[in-house]
């Protein structure tokens, strides 16, 4: 009870101090907010793209395009043979007419197709393999390529792999960004607290003289760092959310043209809470470094 009351008192005093210097406080929060919004924004972007990628390719497929002019019995025999392969889970046949219909339904190209003199599309087998790891997929792909009946075999996971590599790059970039800007946040807090300690030197000295423990003296500074980091996190959240809202507005126009419903997902509740916790923690950490660096230098004489 006593400890809780002490902490509440410190919290109150810290809020008052933030309130008393609105200019400096606002500036610091904005700087921290902007610094944090960059990695957070990048994270949101990555997450949205990743979700798009995984929804497109839940399971990797191999498409097999056939020479034109195959007859039904021949096709059935091929399908049976494919289904007999122990590495293949399921085989789906898409006739060239069905493929054309599908294409006509999708936007943008229907007019073009109407003008074509004949159907340029081949019959296709879509093969869902039992195995999904890259090596086994590659082996199956090689095997299918050796079949003479097939005009062209395409491993549909290839572009996913490229996308994955790109996403990895993005993740790494975000991580580097997050690390450097976190360090910046710690540095900003470190300096703010250093200045505060210097300006409150007399107060620290007097409180030490009348019996304040180190933790009592440290507490308001730690709270200040925590609150500054936390509010910086809130600013970052607002910046990212506002940007997403704006971007999604114009993105909707763009994706409509591609008949996609791709959009940037807003920060989820757990993500938001994690952001607040992290920014608060970093502020606290910066304050802690600063306090342990500077406070012992102030001893009453």
């Amino acid at each position: 009870m006593k400890l809780l009351r002490e902490h509440l008192q410190v919290l109150q005093a810290t809020l008052r101090r933030l309130w008393l210097t609105p200019g400096a406080s606002l500036l610091n929060m904005t700087i921290i907010g902007i610094a944090l919004s960059l990695p957070v924004g990048a994270y949101v972007l990555l997450k949205s793209v990743q979700q798009l990628a995984s929804s497109v390719a839940e399971t990797p497929q191999i498409s097999v395009f056939l020479d034109a002019g195959k007859r039904d019995p021949e096709l059935r025999a091929l399908k049976d043979r494919l289904e007999g392969n122990e590495r293949i889970a399921r085989v789906e046949f898409v006739s060239r007419d069905a493929a054309l219909q599908q294409l006509q339904q999708s936007t943008g190209v229907s007019d073009m197709i109407g003008d074509l003199p004949h159907n340029p599309l081949p019959d296709t087998f879509i093969i869902y393999p039992k195995v999904t790891d890259t090596k086994a997929m590659e082996a199956l792909y090689q095997e299918l390529q050796s079949w003479k009946q097939f005009d062209h075999v395409q491993l549909d996971s290839a572009w996913i792999k490229k996308l994955d590599a790109l996403l990895d790059l993005g993740r790494l970039t975000t991580a580097i960004l997050a690390t450097t800007l976190s360090l910046a946040l710690i540095a900003i807090t470190f300096n703010t607290i250093r200045l505060q300690i210097l300006t409150r030197r007399d107060e620290i000295e007097v409180t030490k003289l009348i019996g304040a423990s180190d933790s009592f003296i440290r507490r308001p500074f730690l709270y200040f760092g925590l609150l500054q980091g936390l509010t910086g996190g809130v600013v970052a959240w607002l910046l990212v959310s506002a940007s997403l809202w704006l971007l999604n507005g114009s993105l909707a126009n763009l994706t409509q043209l591609y008949a996609s419903d791709f959009q940037l997902h807003p920060l989820t509740l757990p993500d938001s809470l994690a952001l607040f916790a992290f920014s608060g923690y970093l502020g606290w950490l910066g304050a802690w470094f600063s306090v342990s660096q500077h406070l012992w230098q102030i001893e009453p004489r």
Binding site: K2, L3, R5, Q9, V206, T207, G211, S213, F216
Partner: protein
């Protein structure tokens, strides 16, 4: 309550501030510390409050040896000592009330109980009507009394006063010494440093006289 045994204090640079100082102050005693400026009065008070540590010898405060006391144990020791400074050391960023409240905040008092105690302390030094004033708006005598209120608000066993009447005229001095007397009557141990002989004449009590860091024997009033 306060026991010095063959205490030496040498500052870096070789200045010998105290030499072989030994004395005893019993619980509830009121003692003056006299001597010219630079005789070591302030150093002696700093040893009692654990602001400095002795170079050799033992300083026992309420059973704690200052020479060996752990850094973490100092705050608890100081909470039992009321310090009154010549330069007051008041905080000008808050009201008189909040200045006196500070020691109670440090010991984690309930706010309502703390407010009661602060008003009692302010009343004792005659500043109850000035509780909202900023210390900078108070006169020298009032600032000194505010400093006393802050020193006594947590009801310490020991009061240390460094030249409490140093910059004050005679009327103010008497006022402050009357306040000290009243603490003495309720059993507080007081150690008051002064170079003002008239104080000793008007409010006689035992006196420790320092001369160039050496305690003069038999000096008492």
């Amino acid at each position: 309550m306060i026991r010095f045994g063959q205490v030496y204090k040498r500052y870096p640079g070789g200045h010998e501030a105290l030499q072989d100082v030994s004395f005893d102050i019993a619980k509830g005693e009121m003692v003056y510390l006299t001597g010219h400026s630079g005789a070591g009065k302030s150093t002696l008070l700093k040893l009692v409050a654990a602001i400095e540590r002795p170079t050799s010898g033992s300083v026992l405060i309420n059973g704690h040896n200052i020479r060996a006391i752990k850094r973490e144990a100092i705050p608890a020791l100081r909470r039992n000592i009321g310090l009154i400074f010549q330069d007051h050391k008041l905080l000008f960023d808050r009201s008189a009330f909040d200045n006196v409240l500070l020691p109670l905040q440090i010991s984690g008092f309930d706010h309502r109980e703390a407010a009661k105690r602060v008003r009692a302390a302010l009343d004792k030094v005659g500043l109850l009507t000035r509780e909202k004033a900023n210390p900078i708006a108070l006169s020298g005598g009032e600032q000194q009394r505010l400093c006393i209120a802050r020193a006594i608000v947590s009801r310490p066993d020991i009061l240390l006063a460094d030249e409490p009447t140093g910059n004050l005229d005679a009327d103010y001095s008497s006022e402050i010494l009357n306040i000290f007397k009243s603490f003495h009557q309720v059993g507080v141990t007081l150690l008051i440093s002064t170079h003002d002989q008239t104080v000793l004449q008007r409010f006689p009590a035992r006196a420790l006289h320092l001369d160039h860091g050496v305690l003069q024997q038999g000096a008492s009033a």
